[in-house]
């Protein structure tokens, strides 16, 4: 996920939530909401939370990097930046200035599947937030210029430099994606896109993209906080009611992901220590095994008592770190494990241990305690997320997330229950089904001039 403003490293690895064996003090997780849809197709979700006098406005446009055309990778995210450059009634720079003068913060982010925008601030600022969001939804193009596009192109290219090119191992992800998905698959390229494609983006691209995707009928608006549903509805009708509906967005189903053997690759980078990445094609978000794979990731590398951390970092002391995660998107998913070698060790040593541990789990299910530990960990993360109405991952964002992915905004408890149902046997089956055999990308990132530290061809778990 790319954010317009740098945020503290988001915890994107790991689990969403889980239900413990003992019910949560008989308290279920509920986020009561009202929803309505304007005649122009804009769906609105309102959640009242009067505990703190703040409000969060969160807009999801159902467009992401997976909707980009060939030769324009990175465009959805560049467009997200352009959305802050002013609109017909809001001069360049005023969007941020007006919000800060009202004590509010804002940001936006783009993923493969969607683009979201939020404003968080004191509850009295709601009319301003909606006024600003409506102006850029309805009136972005009249004031759009090539200069605005150029300027944010420069910012985004620096974001790519800062977060990828100038960061150790920063180019690993795009190297994995291009090998895991065929060129015609919408997850083949990274959200940030390539420098060349960013350079090619034009004012005309901005016009077409806006008209196709930035329409009220392709967006949902969640409002949460110390407001009443009645006031929120009135304000939304006032500011968004006359924005015209756009064409329906249609998408072609993605091509199948071919199942082949092991795809090995070596990337030389300005790093001291080599790192190995294993990536498997798995399942999309909320499909049957998605939560099971989240629990598996926790069993493998969630914390210092996990299997891979214990073996690689604690006992053998051949790695400095290890990470595992299931990344389920709207149309597909992948599972990744990566580990960084200590000085004097090569990636083959790490890969052998990773494969050994995967084989153990394929042969014998994890212990009930390991699964319960994962469930408890994610349950706690879930609870903490309930503390906040705004920001990325706050209640407003989450209502939009569930609404888009499963069609029910208040899916919190149901989501929790997915994790409660995961059993040790299911985790074992998931290892057998997804992580042994089949298509796997093994990417070795090694110091420049040291390809001998890479994983050798022919590894199989």
């Amino acid at each position: 996920m790319m954010a317009r403003i740098a945020t503290a490293t988001a915890v994107v690895f790991g689990l969403l939530c889980a239900r413990p064996p003992v019910p949560l003090s008989a308290q279920s997780l509920r986020v009561p909401y009202q929803t309505f849809t304007l005649p122009n197709g804009l769906q609105v979700i309102v959640h009242e939370d009067h505990s703190v006098p703040v409000v969060a406005v969160n807009t999801w446009y159902h467009v992401g990097s997976s909707d980009e055309k060939p030769g324009r990778t990175g465009f959805a995210h560049l467009f997200e930046h352009i959305m802050f450059m002013g609109s017909q009634h809001v001069q360049t720079g005023e969007f941020d200035r007006l919000l800060e003068a009202a004590g509010a913060d804002n940001n936006g982010s783009t993923s493969e599947d969607r683009t979201n925008y939020y404003e968080d601030g004191p509850a009295n600022a709601l009319p301003l937030m909606l006024y600003l969001d409506a102006d850029r939804m309805g009136f972005l193009l009249p004031e759009m210029t090539a200069e605005k596009v150029d300027l944010q192109r420069g910012v985004v290219q620096n974001e790519r430099r800062q977060s990828y090119e100038n960061r150790p191992y920063g180019l690993a992800e795009e190297n994995i994606l291009e090998r895991l998905y065929p060129a015609s698959h919408p997850y083949h390229w990274p959200v940030i896109g390539s420098m060349a494609d960013l350079q090619a983006a034009s004012l005309e691209d901005v016009r077409q993209f806006f008209q196709k995707y930035y329409t009220p009928n392709n967006a949902t608006l969640a409002i949460a906080g110390d407001i009443t549903a009645r006031d929120a509805r009135q304000l939304v009708e006032r500011y968004f009611g006359d924005i015209p509906r756009g064409p329906a967005v249609t998408r072609t189903p993605p091509p199948p992901v071919p199942v082949a053997g092991v795809v090995g690759a070596v990337l030389e980078d300005r790093v001291q220590l080599p790192r190995v990445y294993d990536a498997w094609h798995t399942v999309k978000a909320f499909s049957a095994d998605d939560a099971t794979l989240d629990v598996l990731a926790n069993v493998l590398a969630g914390g210092r008592s996990s299997r891979l951390y214990r073996r690689l970092v604690y006992e053998l002391q051949i790695a400095t770190d290890v990470v595992a995660f299931q990344d389920g998107g709207r149309i597909d998913g992948k599972f990744e494990v990566y580990a960084t070698a200590r000085p004097g060790h090569d990636l083959g040593e790490l890969q052998r241990v990773i494969d050994e541990e995967l084989r153990k789990l394929a042969d014998q299910a994890p212990t009930p305690r390991e699964v319960e530990r994962a469930q408890n960990t994610v349950e706690a993360q879930f609870l903490s997320r309930m503390e906040r109405v705004g920001g990325f991952g706050g209640k407003a964002d989450q209502l939009n997330f569930y609404n888009y992915f499963v069609g029910t905004p208040d899916y919190f408890q149901k989501d929790l229950e997915r994790y409660a149902r995961v059993t040790p046997a299911a985790v074992q089956r998931a290892v057998q089904t997804y992580l042994t055999g089949g298509h796997r990308v093994v990417l070795s990132v090694v110091p420049q001039g040291k390809p001998e530290l890479a994983v050798k061809e022919g590894v199989t778990p």
């Binding site: 740098a6 949560l24 003090s25 308290q27 304007l38 005649p39 122009n40 505990s51 006098p53 703040v54 009634h89 720079g93 941020d96 200035r97 009202a102 004590g103 913060d105 601030g121 004191p122 509850a123 009295n124 600022a125 150029d150 300027l151 420069g154 910012v155 290219q157 620096n158 430099r161 800062q162 090119e165 100038n166 009708e237 006032r238 009611g241 006359d242 015209p244 509906r245 064409p247 001291q272 220590l273 969630g302 210092r304 008592s305 214990r310 604690y314 002391q317 400095t320 000085p343 319960e372 530990r373 994962a374 408890n376 349950e379 706690a380 609870l383 903490s384 309930m386 503390e387 705004g390």
Partner: protein
């Protein structure tokens, strides 16, 4: 717009909702109702007989509790022969405690769904745990073991020492980490308590051993001078009972006074320190010098000043370097809140080819804030941003804990935030200009640049903004 869309839009104009909304005036932003009254959670304090201060903030919306223990055991206390000892000691707290092995500690925390952390900054060490309410008792048992009964087994010391040695190697690849170490090393100098690397050096790491860790722990991990902050779904009475049962037996002992060295002088003249990172796509820039202590009465004016210069998205540095020039993904500034004199720093990662141009814009803004009065609307915006955004900082247990923790860490009055809005609103343009002239001193900046020397050196030289001095990845002279 396509023809089909236009037709649809016209059809929709017949609906009543549209007629209502047609009255909307978009030519100017809406006038807002008055901001909501500030309602801050109350903090209640009590002191245990052994001197441990307990502060409790009740927040009952979500059944979670955030616990933070502040101990006067920061890296400013590192012996000169053992930079990195304070952070290493904090790390070691979790590597076996009471009857639990290192793996047991990690396993128990995960099983409880608790986020357990131990860390040290220059000013202090801290342990924290964030956990669902119904597992609070068990989490506090674990927490007390970690803080009061760390094992410091030789085998675990060796394990963490080796891991840290590898992490120091990794750190050299990360230009932001390099800049964060080099900047204080240059600004403070190695002899100052803030001048050494927080996580130590290669040679100091190799020397880490049980005796040093145990001695550091025994000297500084004491209840007198420590503060326990509990925020969340718990009552004062319960918090007190739970804390007293676990921390009441913690033995007090006099802790040596916090170091009080003379304030390091600012650089004799502005100097550029260049750290070579061949092939770097960006240059990491840090510009600044020694600044004020956190407890200065000028802090409110400094907060307003920094919000104008580089503390928010619409601040001058970010508007200039990012939004006007596109040189960077973000440019910011900070007065570091510290017990001793913190540093003022302006910072960004800028595209290599525009390193010199970026320095020009940095210096232009940092001179302008001193030379020109701040326009009233800009002043008003900064003050509103600080004051109206305050309630949001107290929304979560972690957020409220961070705010109250700052008060406890610096010995600030606990009703600080009750008066905060009035104090910020009282700041005038003249106040801002006065503190800008006093606390931002471009003639004596240390300018640290981590980047590709072959690409940026000539451009920086041509600026004539001071001599260029070459430093290594630790900010030290190159021998």
């Amino acid at each position: 717009m396509t023809a089909a869309v236009t037709v649809l839009a016209l059809l929709l104009t017949a609906l009543p909702a549209f007629r209502l909304s047609a009255q909307v005036d978009r030519t100017k932003p809406p006038a807002l109702p008055p901001p909501p009254a500030l309602r801050l959670p109350a903090v209640q304090t009590t002191t245990l007989p052994n001197g441990l201060t307990l502060a409790v903030v009740e927040m009952h919306k979500v059944p979670v509790v955030d616990v933070q223990l502040l101990v006067d055991a920061g890296a400013a206390r590192d012996p000169s022969t053992a930079p990195g000892l304070a952070t290493f000691t904090a790390t070691m707290l979790q590597q076996g405690a009471g009857a639990r092995s290192a793996l047991d500690v990690a396993d128990e925390a995960a099983f409880l769904g608790a986020q357990l952390g131990t860390a040290a900054t220059f000013d202090g060490a801290s342990a924290s745990i964030h956990v669902p309410r119904r597992r609070l008792e068990a989490a506090l048992d674990l927490f007390a073991d970690v803080v009061l009964r760390p094992s410091f087994a030789d085998s675990e010391i060796a394990r963490q020492r080796e891991l840290r040695a590898a992490q120091l190697v990794q750190q050299r690849d990360e230009p932001v980490a390099v800049a964060s170490i080099a900047f204080p090393a240059i600004v403070y100098g190695r002899g100052h308590p803030y001048g050494h690397p927080l996580n130590g050096t290669d040679s100091a790491t190799a020397r880490l051993a049980r005796d040093g860790v145990a001695e550091f722990y025994g000297t500084y991990y004491r209840p007198n001078g420590a503060r326990l902050l509990i925020v969340g779904d718990v009552t004062l009475a319960d918090a007190r009972r739970l804390a007293a049962a676990r921390f009441g037996g913690w033995e007090r002992r006099d802790v040596p006074a916090f170091p009080s060295p003379p304030t390091p002088p600012r650089a004799a003249a502005r100097t550029v320190y260049l750290i070579d990172k061949p092939g770097a796509a960006q240059s990491v820039v840090r510009i600044g010098h020694v600044g004020p202590v956190r407890t200065t009465p000028d802090w409110f004016a400094l907060e307003v000043l920094n919000t104008i210069v580089g503390g928010a998205f619409t601040s001058r540095l970010n508007q200039n370097l990012r939004e006007t020039h596109g040189y960077t993904y973000g440019a910011f500034s900070q007065f570091a809140p510290r017990r001793l004199n913190g540093a003022f720093v302006a910072l960004a990662s800028v595209v290599t080819a525009k390193t010199d141009s970026s320095l020009v814009e940095f210096l232009k803004e940092l001179r302008r804030i001193r030379d020109e009065a701040v326009p009233p609307p800009e002043l008003a915006k900064a003050k509103a941003y600080l004051t109206l955004g305050l309630p949001g900082d107290f929304e979560t247990t972690g957020g409220a804990a961070a705010r109250f923790r700052e008060l406890l860490a610096f010995g600030l009055p606990l009703d600080y935030y009750d008066r905060y809005v009035d104090r910020i609103n009282a700041i005038t343009g003249a106040d801002v200009q006065r503190v800008a002239r006093e606390y931002i001193d471009p003639d004596h900046f240390d300018i640290v640049v981590v980047g590709d020397k072959s690409q940026i050196e000539a451009g920086i030289k041509a600026l004539n903004e001071g001599p260029i001095v070459y430093r290594d990845l630790w900010g030290q002279e190159i021998r």
